[in-house]
Amino acid sequence: MPRWVWPWLLLLPTFLAIGAVAFWPILEGLRLSLTNTSLITRQSDFVGLENYTGLLSDARFWNAWGHTVWFTFASTLLETLIGLGMALVLYERFACRGLVRAAMLVPWAMPTVVTSKMFGWLFDGQNGVVNWLLMNLGIIDAKINWYGNPDTALTTLIIADVWKTAPFMALLLLTGLQTIPKSLTEAARMDGARGWTVFWSIRLPLLMPTLLIAGLFRALDAFRVFDLVYVLTGGGPADSTETLSTLAYKELFSTLEFGYGSTVSTAMFITEAILAAILCLWLVRTIRRVS
């Protein structure tokens, strides 16, 4: 066997595995999105871009698209800011730091379905602790109907997501902080820099690559939000919490319209790819500037 064959032969299992679990489903999804496949009507004919033109004029899709983008933006931003704050605190030495670092990860380690049920009770309109606290503190004078009102439902879901995932951001940012050479901050302090100056001029710029990578992870993950919505609101009230994942689920598995459902998930894939591309470009530029 010629020598050049060997490396390819050794790579073959990896290619096969990735192809089978990543590329094939994507291509199959693309193919299905160009057909009118439905398990109920048992059709499976090629219809070209018909599904896509239908999608562009589908108000439900744009409604879900808007919610998903807003959810992604708001939760990622809040998680990054809160996570950064947590990371800066946990970086400092204090008593029981190890314990606090471990405890901080508990929300993130919890299954989202459990988190969802928990937030269901916390924000319950009648018996929820949140309403009780706000009323007793005199901040509100009537119970807020968190999940039953379209103005607050999505915000409540964002709060639940932030609670759950901010610790994850904090963890990533903490590791980022630890890679910044101590000599730099020490030198700055010697030169008389105060805490804020150290943060703005040294830590933040050097943390930027980690921050962007963590943000990228979070954004891509938040974009797929499903379990919170599924457990807490089912997309309601009045479609105010419908996201692309729940819409795709309803199309694919409730109506069994695999063609149109795949179109929704492909559109989701495209939006996510654009989002990832923008963040990656920004990331590359930042890394170049830092190094």
């Binding site: 398990l39 109920i40 009507t41 048992r42 439900r60 319950d124 309109g125 009648q126 109907n145 968190w146 999940y147 039953g148 009102n149 379209p150 439902a153 609101t233 089912g234 997309g235 309601g236 009230p237 009045a238 479609d239 105010s240 309803k250 598995f253 409730s254 109506t255 069994l256 319209e257």
Partner: protein, 442 residues
């Protein structure tokens, strides 16, 4: 959907596995393993018998559907049934997918299956369910509740055999009605008035609780309101929408008004499905509740209920000039159109739907029979007294829209009705919804 079962201590829920069950399970399991190790066919008894399969969502009570299938297998020596257990009815989307995937293969498995009433039209239109008209006559069908029977029909043909059912009903505080000297309200207006009075008297916090979460249950509540005003969601042939008509608009407007005008329902009902609405009621906080039959044993259980002995249940109210309607639920039997053993399959499913088995299901699973005559049965009346009172409720059972496109229709209804209940522009939303439905079913 579970009534009080004799040994269940009054709580609906998962199986109550007895020692006996466990031992039986272990011994059959061991026998199966032994046979497999020896390479013997595990079903030696099946020799010479016709083999068919039966798939059903898994319901539990004092026994399982597997036990029923065993009884059938032991009762005769012509047919041998394999039981395929699907997920429980609480995961009905998964049950639906499982059935569709098997039926779409068209290889005749499962020969017999049980199906939620809302899937019947879709399975029939896809050609998966065999019309049963060659097996049944008017004499036989007259023994079932009319509403259930009409939900089992598609395109004029009977494509499912009624099995067991459940419907929406009204729970009320008997003690408070007695105290006010009021009769059980028959119209929505009376109900609202009494509910308001109970709130003003400080006896309850809410007047009327129902389910407005954007989910299947919202469609059930809406069907009841609309049908009790002589309206409908779809026309009789299922090809056009009627939800834009004034009868339907009035009914949805009433639901909106319970929150915003009469203020007998908290706005939280917009995010509530069955359990969140049940809890305040059994905590004694509401005068009336719309829910399914499963609430009864909970309301009578002193460990979770504040209102033991103070509750009544009956048909839901109606609008002036209308008739009480309750949304029909439950699972009905279907015969796979591709089965190779038609007669054997029919023998099994007619046995399953026979009075003896329906009674056994009522007693051991707490699931309501689809045969009105069973409600006169002395043993059933003694062991399930609440179920026996449900005859008038079941008589008013109203199917949800009968259409093969039900899955799309229900999603559109959930979204449209939820919007109307939130923004109060009922007429506008119902007109828009009507247009959408016309596009789906037209």
């Amino acid at each position: 959907m579970t009534f009080k079962t004799p040994h269940s201590g009054g709580r609906p829920g998962p199986a109550h596995v007895t020692q006996l069950d466990r031992r039986a399970f272990l011994s059959t399991g061991a026998a199966g393993l032994g046979a497999a190790a020896l390479g013997l066919p595990t079903r030696a008894r099946a020799a010479g018998r016709k083999q068919i399969s039966f798939a059903s969502a898994a319901f539990f009570g004092n026994e399982s559907f597997g036990d029923l299938v065993n009884s059938f297998n032991e009762s005769q020596d012509r047919v041998m049934v394999d039981y395929i257990e699907l997920p429980p009815p609480s995961s009905s989307t998964e049950v639906y997918q499982g059935l569709v995937q098997q039926l779409a293969r068209g290889n005749g498995t499962p020969d017999v299956f049980s199906q939620d009433v809302i899937w019947i039209a879709g399975f029939a239109a896809a050609g998966w369910a065999l019309p049963l008209d060659e097996f049944v006559d008017a004499e036989m069908t007259s023994k079932y509740f009319e509403g259930t029977l009409s939900a089992c029909k598609w395109d004029g043909k009977l494509t499912a055999l009624p099995w067991f059912m459940d419907t929406g009903m009204m729970y009320y505080r008997k003690d408070l009605l007695d105290q006010y000297g009021e009769a059980v309200p028959e119209t929505w207006a009376e109900m609202a008035r009494i509910g308001k009075a109970a709130m003003e008297a400080g006896d309850t916090e809410f007047g009327f609780l129902w389910q407005g979460k954007q989910a299947e249950v919202l469609v059930c509540d809406a069907v009841e309101a609309i049908a009790s005003n002589s309206g409908a969601i779809l026309s009789d042939d299922g090809r056009s929408a009627r939800i834009g008509e004034s009868a339907a608009v009035e009914a949805i407007q009433f639901l909106y008004d319970t929150i915003n005008e009469m203020k007998i329902s908290p706005s939280d009902v917009l995010s509530w499905d069955e359990e969140p609405s049940r809890q305040p009621f059994t905590a004694g906080k509401s005068m009336f509740l719309r829910n399914w039959s499963y609430v009864w044993p909970i309301a009578q259980d002193p460990s979770v209920s504040e209102i033991v002995g103070k509750v009544g249940a009956g048909p839901l109210p109606h609008f002036d000039g209308g008739k009480s309607a309750s949304t029909l639920g439950g699972y009905q039997l279907g015969l796979n159109a591709n089965t190779k053993e038609r007669d054997a399959a029919w023998e099994f499913m007619s046995w399953m739907s026979a009075p003896e088995q329906q009674k056994r299901i009522a007693l051991n699973f707490g699931l309501g029979p689809s045969r009105p005559a069973l409600f006169d049965d002395a043993e059933l009346n003694e062991k399930q007294p609440f179920m026996a009172t449900l005859r008038p409720v079941f008589t008013g059972a109203t199917p949800r829209p009968v259409t093969p496109e039900y899955a799309k229709v229900t999603l559109a209804l959930q979204s449209g009705i939820s919007k109307a209940l939130v923004n109060g522009e009922v007429e506008k939303e119902m007109t828009a919804l009507s247009g959408q439905l016309d596009k789906i079913v037209g």
